[in-house]
C-alpha cells in the first residue's frame, strides 16, 4: 500500500482535521522512514488510537467455611461462569503397576452418570441446559472444568457435586469406555507422530512412570472394574490435592457457597503418592527407529528448569529466542525461512513435576532431514557458546509482554490460569507482576542460563525414519 493513498478521503466534512492528523503522522513516518524500511511500526504502536490503560485483572483468594481455597476473578461481560479444578498428583504417572491406564479411564468415566442419574439422563440434562462438565488426566494431575450459564448455575454446581462424590461407574458404561480407550491405544500406533512420542518417552524416562504410555496398557485396561475405579476416586480426588479457579459472572458469596457445596464433601486426604525425580540422562545420544516415511520425524531434549526456579524466566527468554513462538526464532529462521527444509521447527520448556526439559522437534523429508539436524546442533552450540544479543532479548521480552493480554480471551482460559497460579505458587499478584518479571531479566542473565542449560551437554535425539 502506498503511504499517500491511505489518507485519501472522500468525506469532505472531516477532511481538514484528518489532513492535519495525516500530515503529522505522515511527517513522522517519513522522517523515521529515511532510516527504516519505509514505514515505522513503532510509531504506529506508540501513537495507537486504541489502547486500554486501566485493564484490571483482580484476583482474590477465597476460603470457604469448610476451608476450601480458590482463586476468583469476577468477569461479568457475559452471563457465564467457568470453574477449573485440578487434583495434584492424581494423574497417570501414579497408576500402579498392573493398573496402567486407570487415570484416563477414570477421567473418561466421571461424566458417565452420577448419583440417581444414569449416563443418558445425566448427559441429557447437560445438553438441555448447556452445561459442560469434563475431566482429563495428564502425567501429573487429574483436572476438570465446568462451564455454565449463570441462570443454570445452581443445577450445574449440583451436578458437579454429584459427579465428584457419587460417580456411578455403571458396568455397561465402564465396558464401553474401556473399548474406546483400547481403540485410542490402537490408533496411536497408526500415526508416526504419536509412535515417536511413545518411543521418546521410553528413551528419556526409562523406568520412571513418565516412560510409560500414559494412556495405559491394553492388558491392564481390560481388567479395570468398579471397585478399582471407586478406590482411585476415593484416594486421589481429595481436598489435600485440590486446586480451584473460578471466573465469570458469579459473586463472591455465590462462589464461596459453591466451594462448600461442590467440594466440601470430598475426603480430606487420600493415599499419599509421590514419584522420584525422572533422572533423565542427557548425554547427546541419538536413537533412530527405522521407518520408511514420507518425512522423518525427530524430538530432541535436554535438561530444563522448574517453574519456580530463579533460572526460569531467563531460560524462558533464551528458549523464545532459540525455538519459541512465531516464525522468528533462530531455528525457524534458519531451517524454515532461510533454507526451506521443514514446515515447522520448535522448542519449548516442558514442565512436569518430576522432570523439567527443553524440548524441541521437527519433521522433514529424508533428503533434508540431516541438514535440519545439523542446524539444530549448530544453533544449540551457538546458544551455549555465543549466547544471545541485547536486540534478541529485547524482541523476546517485547513478545512475551505484548502477548500477555491474549490469555484473557475466554473465561475458561481465565479460570485455568487461576488454577495454574496456585499450582505453581506464583502468588495472588502474579497477573499484575508477571510482565515486570519478564522485563527485569537482563541479557546477562539470559546468557548465563543459556550457558548453563545449553552448555550442559548435547540434547538426546530420538527419531523415526531412515
Amino acid at each position: 500500500m502506498r503511504r499517500r493513498s491511505y489518507y485519501k478521503k472522500s468525506n469532505a466534512g472531516r477532511i481538514i482535521i484528518l489532513l492535519l492528523i495525516a500530515a503529522a503522522v505522515t511527517f513522522g513516518t517519513w522522517y523515521r522512514g529515511l532510516f527504516n524500511s519505509g514505514f515505522d511500526a513503532d510509531y504506529l504502536v506508540e501513537n495507537s488510537r486504541l489502547k486500554r490503560a486501566g485493564f484490571e485483572t483482580n484476583v482474590e483468594e477465597l476460603v470457604s467455611r469448610k476451608g476450601i481455597k480458590a482463586y476468583y476473578m469476577e468477569e461479568r461481560t457475559n452471563p457465564i461462569i467457568s470453574v477449573y479444578f485440578l487434583f495434584q498428583k492424581a494423574g497417570a504417572s501414579f497408576d500402579q503397576r498392573g493398573k496402567e491406564g486407570l487415570a484416563h479411564v477414570t477421567a473418561a468415566l466421571m461424566t458417565e452418570g452420577a448419583g440417581d442419574l444414569d449416563s443418558r439422563e445425566f448427559k441429557e440434562i447437560l445438553e438441555d441446559k448447556a452445561i459442560s462438565i469434563s475431566f482429563a488426566a495428564d502425567d501429573d494431575d487429574v483436572s476438570g472444568s465446568l462451564l455454565t450459564l449463570k441462570e443454570n448455575q445452581k443445577e450445574a454446581f449440583e451436578l458437579l457435586r454429584t459427579v465428584l462424590t457419587e460417580p456411578r461407574f455403571d458396568s455397561k458404561k465402564t465396558e464401553l469406555v474401556k473399548q474406546q480407550m483400547l481403540a485410542v491405544l490402537e490408533r496411536q500406533k497408526e500415526y508416526p507422530d504419536s509412535v515417536l512420542e511413545q518411543l521418546w518417552r521410553q528413551e528419556i524416562f526409562g523406568a520412571h512412570p513418565y516412560g510409560r504410555n500414559s494412556l495405559g496398557r491394553a492388558e491392564d485396561i481390560v481388567r479395570i472394574n468398579r471397585d478399582v475405579l471407586q478406590r482411585r476416586v476415593r484416594e486421589s480426588l481429595t481436598k489435600d490435592r485440590l486446586i480451584v479457579g473460578i471466573a465469570g459472572d458469579i459473586s463472591k458469596q455465590e462462589a464461596l457457597k459453591m466451594l462448600d457445596r461442590v467440594f466440601g464433601a470430598l475426603p480430606e486426604k487420600g493415599k499419599k503418592t509421590a514419584n522420584e525425580d525422572a533422572k533423565a540422562h542427557f548425554d547427546g545420544r541419538e536413537k533412530v527407529i527405522p521407518r520408511d516415511l514420507a518425512q522423518d520425524i525427530a524430538i530432541f531434549a535436554a535438561e530444563g528448569t522448574a517453574r519456580n526456579n530463579p533460572d526460569f524466566y531467563p531460560l524462558y527468554i533464551a528458549n523464545q529466542i532459540f525455538g519459541g513462538q512465531g516464525l522468528t526464532s533462530r531455528l525457524s529462521l534458519a531451517a524454515r525461512e532461510d533454507e526451506a527444509l521443514t514446515y515447522g521447527i520448535y522448542s519449548y520448556l516442558s514442565l512436569k513435576d518430576d522432570a523439567a526439559l527443553i524440548r524441541g522437534g521437527f519433521s522433514a523429508t529424508p533428503d533434508k532431514f540431516a541438514r535440519v539436524k545439523e542446524i539444530v546442533g549448530r544453533e544449540w552450540q551457538r546458544m551455549a557458546e555465543e549466547g544471545v544479543s541485547d536486540e534478541e532479548v529485547e524482541a523476546a521480552k517485547k513478545y512475551l509482554t505484548a502477548s500477555y493480554n491474549l490469555r484473557f480471551a475466554s473465561i475458561a482460559n481465565i479460570s485455568a490460569i487461576l488454577a495454574a497460579m496456585q499450582r505453581e505458587k506464583l502468588g495472588i499478584d502474579f497477573l499484575q507482576k508477571r510482565n515486570s518479571y519478564v522485563e527485569a531479566v537482563t541479557t546477562e542473565q539470559v546468557n548465563e542460563a543459556a550457558k548453563k542449560y545449553f552448555g550442559a551437554g548435547q540434547p538426546v535425539w530420538v527419531s523415526l525414519g531412515k
Binding site: F55, S119, A130, E151, Q179, P192, Y404, N405
Partner: protein, 437 residues
C-alpha cells in the same frame, strides 16, 4: 485448513433459552473501495482478532495449477513493496500477536490476534499486503519448498489423510471440489512465480474481501481505522470465480481400502446436499437433522449403534452449511465389526428418521440454542464463526438471527430433508487394517 471445517461444531454446542439471545452483536459497513467490514465488539479484555477473508479458494485455481491458492497464502508472509521479507513475521511476533492463515476450497483467510494497542500495526500490514505483495524468485522457491514439506507432513505422513483425499475424489467426481486443497505434490513443484502473481492479481482486492474486527473496538473506531488503513486500496475488477457444475447423474460408489498402518476400521459416508447458499430452508433442516442423528453421546445413532448394539466404538453425523457450492452430509464411525456395520447403520438411520417427531424436533432445537451465548465469549472464535458463515452465503442479519432461523425449522422441513437424504446417492468408504495372514 482443517480449522475451517471445525467451525460449525460450535453451532452445535448447546445454548441459552433466553429469547433475546443472539449469536453476537455485530455491525457491518462497506468502504468506498468495496471492502466489507464486520465489527463484533467484545470489551472483556483489550484484545482484538483481525481477520481478512478473501472470497477465493483452491477451487478457483485453473486446471493444472492445483495448490496455487495455498502457496500464495504462504507468499503473503514474504514481503511487499513496503515491508521486506521476514518483517511481517517479526513485527507481529514482537508485538505479541499470534498470526496464521488458512486456505480452504472456498476462501483464503489471514488473521492476527493482538493486544488492542497493536491493532493498527496489524491493520497496516494486512492492508499493505492486500495490494502491495512482492514475490521474488528467491522467496517463491523457498515457500514452494516449505509448502511441499507441509504437504508431506500433513497428508503423506498421515494414513487417514490419504484415505480422505481418495474419498473426496470419489465424492466430487467432475466437480472442482474433488481436487486437494494443497494441490498434489507434483502440482506444487510445477507452480511458477507467475502463477502465484496471476492468482494474486486476479483475486486479491478490497472488493473481494471481508475484514472482521472482533474484540475491544467500537464500530465508530473500526470505521475510522478501516478507512485509514484499507481506504487507499484500490477497487479492481476481480477475476471471475469458478462456476460450479451442476451435479447430474451422481455416481454412488463404495470403496474399500486396506493399509498396513491401520489398526482400527473406519467408515465414512458422504451425501452431497444443498448448502445454505443454495437452499436456506433445507440447509437449516439438515443442521437440525445432523444434531438429532449424530451430534454427541445423546444422539440417536450413538445411542443405538455404540451404546445398545455395540456395533461401533464411535459414530457421528455432521453437516457444514457454509459452502459456495454444494455441501456434504457426513456419517462417520470407528467400528470393530466392519463386515456388519453398514447394515446396522442403514437400519439405525432408517428407524431414527422414522421416529423423528415434534418432541425430538423441540429437543434438538433446544439443545442447539441453549449455549449459543458461549459464542460471545472468545473474540477470536466469534470472528471465525462470523467469517465462515458470511463466506458461506449468509447475510449478517442471517448470522445474527441464526437462533430464530433454527427455531423456525418445522417438522415437515426436517422430514423432507431426511427423505431426500435417504433417497439420494452417496459415496461410502471403509478404511481397514490389512489382512493378518
Amino acid at each position: 485448513m482443517g480449522k475451517f471445517l471445525r467451525l460449525l461444531a460450535f453451532l452445535w454446542l448447546a445454548g441459552t433459552g433466553a429469547a433475546e439471545a443472539r449469536l453476537f452483536e455485530a455491525e457491518e459497513f462497506f468502504l468506498d473501495n468495496g471492502l466489507r467490514v464486520v465489527v463484533i465488539p467484545n470489551h472483556k479484555a483489550p484484545i482484538v482478532q483481525q481477520m481478512v477473508w478473501y472470497n477465493v479458494g483452491s477451487v478457483d485455481e485453473a486446471p493444472g495449477k492445483g495448490g496455487v491458492a495455498h502457496l500464495l497464502e504462504h507468499l503473503m508472509f514474504r514481503g511487499t513493496e513496503e515491508v521486506k521479507d521476514g518483517e511481517f513475521n517479526r513485527l507481529i511476533t514482537e508485538n505479541g500477536g499470534s498470526m496464521n492463515a488458512f486456505t480452504s476450497r472456498d476462501v483464503t483467510v489471514y488473521h492476527e490476534f493482538m493486544d488492542v494497542s497493536r491493532l493498527e500495526l496489524a491493520m497496516f500490514l494486512e492492508a499493505d499486503r492486500m495490494s502491495g505483495l512482492k514475490i521474488t524468485p528467491e522467496t517463491f522457491e523457498k515457500e514452494r519448498d516449505i509448502v511441499f514439506q507441509e504437504r508431506m507432513q500433513v497428508v503423506e505422513n498421515n494414513p487417514t489423510a490419504y484415505f480422505s483425499e481418495v474419498m473426496q475424489r470419489n465424492l466430487w467426481q467432475e466437480h472442482p471440489y474433488a481436487r486437494p486443497i494443497t494441490g498434489t505434490p507434483e502440482e506444487i513443484l510445477q507452480l511458477s512465480q507467475k502463477d502465484a502473481e496471476d492468482f494474486y492479481g486476479r483475486y486479491y482486492a478490497p472488493n473481494n474481501a471481508i475484514l472482521i474486527l472482533s474484540g475491544d473496538i467500537t464500530t465508530a473506531e473500526a470505521k475510522d481505522l478501516a478507512e485509514k488503513y484499507f481506504g487507499g486500496a484500490e477497487r479492481k475488477e476481480t477475476g471471475k470465480r469458478i462456476e460450479f457444475p451442476e451435479f447430474k447423474g451422481f455416481r454412488s460408489s463404495k470403496t474399500l481400502m486396506k493399509m498396513p498402518q491401520i489398526n482400527v476400521s473406519r467408515m465414512v459416508r458422504y451425501y452431497v446436499v444443498p448448502s445454505y447458499a443454495q437452499d436456506k430452508n433445507q440447509a437449516l433442516a439438515l443442521t437440525v437433522l445432523a444434531k438429532y442423528l449424530g451430534d454427541g453421546d445423546t444422539s440417536q445413532l450413538y445411542r443405538r449403534l455404540v451404546e445398545d448394539e455395540k456395533s461401533a466404538v464411535s459414530v457421528a453425523a455432521g453437516y457444514d452449511l457454509a459452502s459456495r457450492s454444494y455441501a456434504v452430509f457426513v456419517l462417520s464411525a470407528l467400528t470393530d465389526h466392519p463386515e456388519v456395520f453398514e447394515k446396522d447403520l442403514d437400519e439405525a438411520l432408517r428407524e431414527a428418521i422414522a421416529a423423528f417427531d415434534a418432541e425430538a424436533l423441540q429437543k434438538a432445537k433446544k439443545q442447539m440454542l441453549a449455549g449459543i451465548i458461549y459464542l460471545k465469549d472468545n473474540p477470536a472464535d466469534a470472528a471465525e464463526i462470523a467469517g465462515s458463515l458470511l463466506s458461506g452465503g449468509m447475510s449478517l442479519e442471517d448470522v445474527k438471527n441464526y437462533d430464530k432461523a433454527i427455531e423456525a425449522v418445522s417438522l415437515t422441513d426436517v422430514r423432507k430433508a431426511a427423505a431426500q437424504l435417504l433417497n439420494g446417492g452417496y459415496v461410502q468408504g471403509f478404511l481397514l487394517p490389512e489382512d493378518k495372514d
